[in-house]
């Protein structure tokens, strides 16, 4: 299989490999479109092959798994199913796209190379979203040294310690509850006086006696030279500062879509989410978007997978009628 020839024109290139991308791969592969999935590169802090579920533990709400399934395990299965039907998967990161004319250009490696690495008649964008960071200086110094965006990766190292989680949504509560398995106490710092999380997660959180809640506070700074020693929090009503004596801080304050690559080429909202219409069509004919990169409302594995299926069907129909 020629992987590097500049004249290599694919039917469909799928960028991203979470539930959305891999479902679109399963469907386009079964439609004999021989999709190429560019799945990304491993990372603990940004986007990664398999998507956000790679950083989770038990997934309890994916239909078909009454006993639950581990997130990474579920994604391995998605991938195997796509490969079984002939999807080709590349563990690399797209560095640039040119969607201004067909066939579309997709670059891997040097974004300034004259010729794209691949060309494609259609592109399915499923690059997902990644955790928002706090945007403070301490982040660079302390990430991996008590400051973390991945409870499942790092929680283990905080056995019998006092730690904090910042955020108020489902992922924040999930992380906080998970961390109580190890930590002595977990303090949830939230900027409002109530949680955004689902009822079932809230009930579990309030019933957990290792979990404490610090309402109406935001994280102002993280202190410590080589490892987290204290977290400085600010009361949003009084502006009063205080310090939490914790050795770890887990950040779960929301997500941003991975749409850098498409700036100026695909229509997006102010928040960076891609705009889709009539199903999964973007403003560029032949380019489709699915999963969290275009969804800030539902953001579930099952909805991402559903929209991945939609994108594959939209793409297949479009290819049938387009003159490519």
């Amino acid at each position: 299989m020629s992987a590097t020839s500049a004249t290599d024109i694919r039917n469909v290139i799928i960028i991203g490999s979470g539930p959305a991308g891999l479902t679109s791969a399963i469907y386009t592969a079964r439609a004999n479109l021989a999709p190429l999935v560019i799945e990304g590169e491993p990372s603990s802090t940004s986007d990664q092959p398999g998507g956000q579920l790679m950083l989770t533990t038990e997934v309890e709400n994916f239909p078909g798994f009454p006993e639950g399934i581990m997130g990474p395990e579920l994604m391995v299965r998605f991938r195997e199913q796509a490969v079984r039907f002939g999807a080709e998967v590349l563990t690399q990161k797209v560095s640039r796209v040119d969607l201004s004319g067909r066939p579309f250009g997709v670059w891997i490696g040097d974004p300034d190379a004259a010729e794209p690495t691949y060309k494609a008649n259609a592109v399915i964008v499923s690059t997902g979203a990644q955790s928002l960071m706090l945007g403070i200086d301490a982040e660079k110094r302390l990430l991996g040294h008590g400051l973390s965006t991945c409870a499942t990766c790092d929680g283990f190292f905080f056995r019998d310690q006092d730690i904090a989680v910042v955020g108020g949504g489902d992922s924040a509560l999930e992380e906080a509850i998970f961390l109580t398995k190890f930590a002595r106490t977990v303090t949830l710092v939230h900027r409002r006086d109530q949680l955004r999380a689902s009822k079932i997660m809230q009930e579990r959180a309030f019933a957990n006696d290792k979990l404490r809640f610090l309402w109406n506070h935001v994280v102002d700074d993280v202190l410590g030279d080589t490892t987290v020693e204290r977290v400085r929090v600010r009361n949003v009503e009084t502006d009063e500062l205080s310090d939490l004596e914790v050795s770890g801080l887990f950040v779960a304050i929301g997500h941003r879509p991975n749409t850098e690559l498409f700036k100026g080429q695909l229509e997006m909202e102010d928040t960076g989410y891609l705009v889709t219409q009539n199903g999964t069509h973007t403003n560029v004919e032949g380019v489709f978007a699915c999963g969290d990169v275009q969804d800030h409302t539902y953001r579930q594995a099952i909805t991402a997978a559903g929209s991945g299926c939609m994108a594959a069907i939209d793409c297949e129909r479009w290819l049938e009628h387009a003159e490519v």
């Binding site: 590169e41 491993p42 790679m54 533990t57 990766c153 190292f157």
Partner: protein, 108 residues
């Protein structure tokens, strides 16, 4: 075939690292860590490609908390390169193959 990747433990760590004539890259990992699973196949490849120059070894932090604590591992995957028995480089978090190779370029 991939080159042999040694499995270290609290009991064997010092002996294995101390006696190695080549630099050893130790992968601190655990079964429950998704990003660790992404890095494992890359390390398999590197082990084969760098055979004779760099050894790759794995240490399960669940089963071997002492070594993990001794080296202050607070996040996995953490990759530490030991040269002449001493820590020479540390990479925290999962990385792609290209970036990993860059960061260990001094040892291969």
């Amino acid at each position: 075939m991939s080159a042999a990747i040694a499995t270290l433990s609290d009991a064997t760590f010092d002996e294995e690292i101390g006696s190695s004539t080549e630099p050893v890259l130790v992968d601190f990992w655990a079964e429950w860590c998704g990003p660790c699973k992404m890095v494992a196949p890359i390390l398999d490849e590197i082990a084969t490609e760098q055979e004779g120059k760099l050894r790759i070894a794995k240490l399960n932090v669940d089963d071997n908390p002492d070594v993990a604590r001794r080296f202050g591992v607070m996040s996995i995957p953490t990759l530490i390169v030991f040269k002449d028995g001493l820590e020479a480089a540390r990479i925290v978090g999962a990385k792609g193959k290209g970036q990993l190779l860059q960061e260990i370029a001094a040892f291969v």
